[in-house]
Amino acid sequence: MNIIIGQYVPGQSVIHRMDPRSKLIAVFAFVIIVFIANSWLSYAVLAAVTCAAILLSQVQLRFIYRGLRPILFVIILTFLLNAFFTRSGHELFGYGWFQLTTGGLRQAALISIRLLMIVISTTLLTLTTTPIDITDGLESLLGPLKKIRFPVHEFALMMSISLRFIPTLMEETEKIMKAQAARGVEFSSGPLLQRIKAILPLLIPLFISAFRRAEDLAMAMEARGYRGDEGRTKLRVFHWGLRDTSLLILIFLLIPVLWLLRS
């Protein structure tokens, strides 16, 4: 079986090799900074930054499109809602209460582009960073929260164990589905009610097995000396380089630039 978790596309680009922490901070900052922009010129600057990032990542456009696809509907809907319910500027088209104005069109375009850039930047992060690196990066960045007893390490461990077990549980699901199909269950045909009923013979064994695995895993982890975060060392380390610092400087320079370009 071939399972690809997340969207990660292996590569050797500058962006791939960056420290996941700098990428996380940059994307997080970018998503907020996008809201400063309100003029065409400021949007042009943001679009240029986004395009540069895509180019640097050397990720093929179809992968970005694939990341966009699920959210495309939302973007189009946002566009339409804004276009028809914002009334300012000249009326371009009108039919009863239904009006399309220049102001509405402008508003709709800007909001959609804003949304598009947010989605592209986060997609770019998941395309160039493995899920486990994102998890580790988050653990490291959220580290200070440990002081207020926020279980950062536990969350990260939970994430990484989930990532580890997704393929195992998928295989298991397939196996149980086959075993129940051999007992006459039809998962993919028949009336809806029957199909919903067919889920139980799949879910119950799957839950039982997941619990058994969890129990086994807990015991194995204990046997291997796991006792929480305290005194733990790490195999995975991050390499913060010049490129990471440069990325952050660049992103934060966007703030004054966009501020000046505001209309």
Partner: protein, 283 residues
């Protein structure tokens, strides 16, 4: 050979619930010697896995004492040292693989024990090499066979430089090739590094190649000794839910069916062949 005791089990009683009528372990006395390969066998539910889980404090006996190199498992301060000294490979290869890749998994134990990263990398490489898995370092677990996953588990253990490795039915879910690879690796570690091996198994062929063997039934140790001695008196073993090794069965059949005058000495196939051949050349 000088026998140095590495684990002492003294008058150990265990049950899974405080009010359970059945004891999973009753009055166990057993010493484990440094460097030996000890097989613990018995049918499913005989208590062999329960005993194994007491040895590194995963389960705590209700009565009695277990010591690993003079550390009592009840001593909370010594428990982590005990778990480093006593590594354990479990039955299901999938359910003990913690890391998202082989490297991460082997490192998991070392990270827990706070081993400094530079040292960790050296040990990581050495232990993967010791189990012939160095080419698989970046592999994800779902792209490994059961036998390979068990070898990764062994690598994770030996990276902690343990004195004892417990195989808790570690080969029972593997195909013949996976099983052979795992046992070969363990034999090598046993011989070259002197790691003590405690193998919980119901595979009699495997048990019969051990240095010493313990048979358990209903929570008790019912036989203990060299496999060749235990199988010299096969009576009762089948009733205990066990089988006899092939050589023992064939030796009996040769005596009873073929009317060949054989001694009870031959235990391995080679010994039996030799004895048959000596007989024939004498006549």
């Amino acid at each position: 050979m000088d026998k140095e005791t590495i684990i002492t089990i003294d008058n150990v009683w265990f049950r899974y619930a405080d009010d359970a009528e059945d004891w999973a372990l009753q009055d166990i006395h057993l010493d484990v010697y440094s460097g030996e390969w000890l097989a613990i066998t018995g049918h499913n539910g005989s208590g062999k896995s329960t005993l194994a889980k007491c040895l590194n404090g995963l389960l705590m006996p209700e009565k009695g004492e277990i010591k690993v190199r003079d550390n009592a498992i009840t001593d909370a301060n010594a428990l982590w040292e005990i778990r480093r000294l006593v590594g354990m490979v479990f039955q299901n290869p999938d359910n003990q693989f913690v890391g998202t890749t082989v490297r991460d998994d082997v490192a998991f134990g070392m990270e827990n024990h706070g081993i400094e990263r530079g040292d960790m990398l050296k040990r990581l490489e050495a232990s993967l090499k010791a189990v012939d898995m160095q080419e698989f370092a970046e592999r994800e677990p779902h792209r490994l066979s059961g036998g390979q996953k068990q070898r990764v588990a062994i690598a994770g253990i030996i990276a902690l430089e343990p004195a004892i490795v417990i195989l808790d039915e570690a080969t029972s879910m593997l195909d013949p090739r996976g099983k052979k690879d795992v046992l070969d690796v363990m034999r090598r570690l046993n011989e070259e590094k002197g790691i003590t091996v405690i193998s919980i198994t119901h595979d009699l062929e495997e048990a019969s190649s051990a240095d010493r063997m313990v048979v358990m039934d209903r929570g008790k140790v019912v036989r203990e000794g060299q496999p060749s001695h235990i199988f010299m008196e096969p009576e009762g073993l089948v009733e205990l839910g066990l089988d006899l090794p092939f050589t023992v069965k064939l030796r009996q059949a040769l005596k009873e069916h073929g009317h060949i005058q054989l001694s009870d000495k031959a235990f391995t196939q080679k010994e039996l062949v030799d004895e048959l051949w000596t007989l024939s050349s004498k006549i």
